[in-house]
């Protein structure tokens, strides 16, 4: 297999004993079959399907944006759009927190940038003890499909850097698809949002970087 191609569930991607089934595939006889709709790719005989849609799969080290759903005696329960919740312990806040006044730090409905530091079964623990993490005080938050996040970020952050440079906004892309934009001018925030939606809609075209550069040139006319 040379090129990436769109495959559907049940479709044989490659035939041959020397291929290995990766994510989104399984071996049936001597075929590697897709078990998910997406883009099939083969690298060094390992075949996998990159999903085009679908939910977010939490991973240790991911930065995500969640919403405070509940306060407990020792922390905050957060919804980040999945079936399971995330837990932020007051020990994971980089300052002293009065146990009787958790709501003064973060209350129900607050949106928070957090980092996953532990996943044990269905229990996901998050922290805000790093730069760039914490409660969102200002800006706009919107959601894109979590599968499009890698395209918005780009190779080694190249795509998001273009948007940041062009708009002068601070942008945090949560791996769960929630995006936070904060700029000093409303026009710039709107432009950054528009650019991200542009990328999401064009996410699988070749030469996306050039297209985004063209987008900004067009917008500045």
């Amino acid at each position: 297999m040379t090129e990436r191609k769109v495959v559907i569930p049940g479709e044989a991607i490659v035939t041959g004993e020397d291929y290995l089934p990766g994510k989104g595939t399984e071996k049936r006889g001597n075929e590697i079959v897709a078990t998910m709709f997406g883009l099939a790719e083969e690298i060094n005989k390992l075949v996998k399907v990159i999903p085009l849609s679908g939910g977010y799969e939490p991973r240790r080290g991911n930065v995500i944006i969640g919403r405070v759903e509940m306060l407990t005696h020792n922390g905050w329960v957060m919804d980040f759009g999945n079936a399971e919740n995330a837990f932020l312990s007051l020990m994971e806040v980089p300052r002293f927190v009065d146990k009787g006044a958790l709501d003064e730090v973060m209350d129900i409905g607050d949106m928070v940038v957090v980092k996953i530091y532990s996943i044990k079964g269905r229990s996901i623990d998050v922290t805000i003890k790093e730069r760039g993490l914490g409660k969102i005080e200002e800006g706009i938050i919107f959601k894109i499909n979590p599968n499009k996040v890698p395209r918005v970020i780009g190779k080694e952050g190249s795509m998001i850097k273009i948007i940041k440079d062009e708009t002068g906004c601070n942008i945090t892309v949560g791996q769960n698809g929630f995006i936070w934009i904060k700029g000093d001018k409303i026009e710039n925030e709107l432009l950054a949002k528009k650019a991200i939606i542009f990328i999401v809609e064009k996410s699988f075209i070749e030469g996306l970087t050039e297209e985004v550069e063209k987008f900004f040139k067009g917008e500045k006319k």
């Binding site: 769109v6 569930p9 049940g10 078990t35 679908g54 999945n82 079936a83």
Partner: protein
Amino acid sequence: MTEFKRPDGRKEDELREMKAKVGIIPNADGSAMYQSGNTIAIAAVYGPKKMHPQHKQDPKRGVLRCTYNMNSFSVSERIRPGPSRRSTEISKIIEWSLEPVLDLDRFPNTVIDVHINIIQADAGTRCAGINAASMALAHAGIPMRDLILSIAAGKLDKTIVIDVNKAEEDFKEGEGSTDIPISMTSSGEITHLQLDGKINSKQLKKAIEMARKSSKEIYEVQKKALKESVNLE
């Protein structure tokens, strides 16, 4: 024996014209439209998401929840909006037909909602709904080992036909009309079978064989719609 003529002139094994489109409902995680002749179904998938109420959660696997709903103006005589006994039964039948190909073990405590809406009905609405749902589930990125293909076979008097329309469903001559909606995987495993009418085992065998043959055409339609929903240019 005189040769049987179908009211719309189709051959016995001829499907109505099919159309399909994937990605028709922006809010949904996956969505699709499937049309067979004058029957039009749309489906939207939301999930996997938290199951509410909590007592309905299954800690071992995700729950598939289908709802089949006919628009009041999808049929000649207006039907009252909202669920009925018929739609409740069909919803469950659709769950049973789709679930065998889904890998729900990966989503404990969640629910995957599949909402099906019939816009225009000319028989075969549950089959159209299942075809739309199959594409919508794939589109939503749900792990699936295969697609599900659904078709109503039928027996009109003594003749086995495929993709029965409303005029044929109402066929009264001879032995009348027997309706046999069948759903199957692309490898031919049957996940849904219903029958209303009169038939013998030999005739049923033929109906299933014909449905299996037709399912190949439906497979191509679903496949094309899914592939066309991704723009790689």
